[in-house]
């Protein structure tokens, strides 16, 4: 677990350094993900430890959002004042994003069907 966690931190650190060093708009952890992905391609997959640790971490991904979500208590005033525009905006926009993304993907998928694929 320790070596896997260290690997993840090293890739995150590399991502942070490159993002800040080159003043890229892409956040450090996302670059870190890209670097790790490239490393996995080069060494043909993760070692067992990295595989297990990542699985454990991702299994409870939703836990990691709880501290930031609890921050709603700081903004209760604004949320109370603007609850209608906020709720409508988040609700409609989220549904619209789901529908538009899925529809566009479906349409693009139908156009060039790969003929060689197994039935």
């Amino acid at each position: 677990m320790l070596s896997a966690l260290t690997q993840l931190l090293i890739f995150q650190l590399a991502g942070e350094v490159v993002a800040r060093g080159l003043a890229l708009p892409i956040p450090g952890p996302v670059l870190g993900m890209l670097f790790l992905f490239i490393a996995l391609m080069l060494r043909q997959g993760p070692d067992k430890e990295l595989q297990t640790t990542s699985q454990n971490l991702l299994q409870h991904l939703s836990l990691l959002f709880v501290p930031a979500g609890t921050g709603i208590m700081v903004h209760l005033h604004r949320v109370a004042d603007e609850w209608l525009p906020l709720l409508l905006s988040l609700l409609i926009s989220t549904v619209a994003t789901l529908v538009v993304t899925a529809l566009v993907m479906k349409l693009c998928q139908r156009a060039p069907t790969a003929p060689g694929e197994a039935p």
């Binding site: 952890p29 993900m33 609890t70 700081v74 409508l88 905006s89």
Partner: protein, 244 residues
């Protein structure tokens, strides 16, 4: 007896131990409820855990900053967890490569829809300018969204909240939206959840299906990067909306 208890409370309320412990406790209780409901999206564990924590902190008069001093250790793991998303991505890479065109087209359409529709609807119903700026990156994962908002002059901590509400709404609603569309492909379902509802949607997708989860993770990463590019470009337009 009672002075002892109040002294213990003085210690606990000043140490990071309590914030960390109650975060884990609240989440585990919420997760048990979620499992008992048969993974019903309406019993979203983030929603329930946050509700429990806000009630507890309000009831005990604990400030959010004090709580966060402990909870930050959990929050910090968002970074390594984002990096770890490379692994499911690698596992599903063959399928992703076969779907390159739909993935890129869906990403661009979805990313623009998420930003523009959130800002337009908020503006239509009279949200203030700082709220609109904080709304723009609401579909991408917390650390990225907060960074974007900071740069365009919104309120990062408000963005964090809006991001999480968005994630919960996406995780709650996606199943019903896709079923109504008669959409079954787990790859497309996962990708759309990842674009609309970042990590919370991705967590939900992983619980339903490994392939959905991998596509959600891919979408979340790509949309984080694309939104970080698009929102600063669109920010002057958001500013103009309100001044008119």
């Amino acid at each position: 007896m009672s002075p002892d208890i109040s002294q213990i409370w003085v210690y606990l309320s000043a140490s990071p131990l309590l914030g960390l412990t109650i975060t884990l406790l609240a989440y585990q209780a919420a997760f048990k409820l979620y499992l008992r409901s048969g993974n019903n999206p309406l019993a979203n564990p983030v929603l329930i855990a946050v509700a429990m924590l806000v009630l507890f902190l309000t009831a005990t008069g604990t400030r959010y900053e004090t709580y966060f001093a402990g909870a930050q250790f959990v929050h910090f793991l968002l970074g390594p967890a984002t990096v770890a998303l490379a692994i499911p991505l690698y596992t599903q890479f063959k399928r992703v490569r076969a779907m390159l065109l739909p993935v890129l087209a869906g990403l661009l359409a979805g990313s623009l829809t998420a930003i523009v529709s959130a800002v337009l609807i908020g503006w239509l119903f009279g949200a203030s300018q700082s709220t609109l700026l904080s709304l723009a990156p609401k579909s991408v994962t917390t650390p990225i969204a907060m960074g974007i908002t900071e740069r365009i002059g919104g309120i990062p901590s408000l963005t964090a909240v809006l991001v999480i509400v968005t994630g919960i709404l996406g995780a709650l609603g996606a199943r019903y939206v896709f079923d109504a569309m008669k959409l079954r492909d787990p790859a497309i379902r996962g990708f759309a959840i990842g674009v609309a509802a970042h990590g919370i949607g991705t967590a939900r997708a992983f619980q339903v299906n490994e392939q959905s989860g991998a596509f959600a993770a891919l979408a979340m990463g790509l949309n984080g990067a694309l939104t970080a590019l698009l929102v600063p470009v669109l920010a002057p337009w958001i500013g103009q909306l309100v001044s008119r």
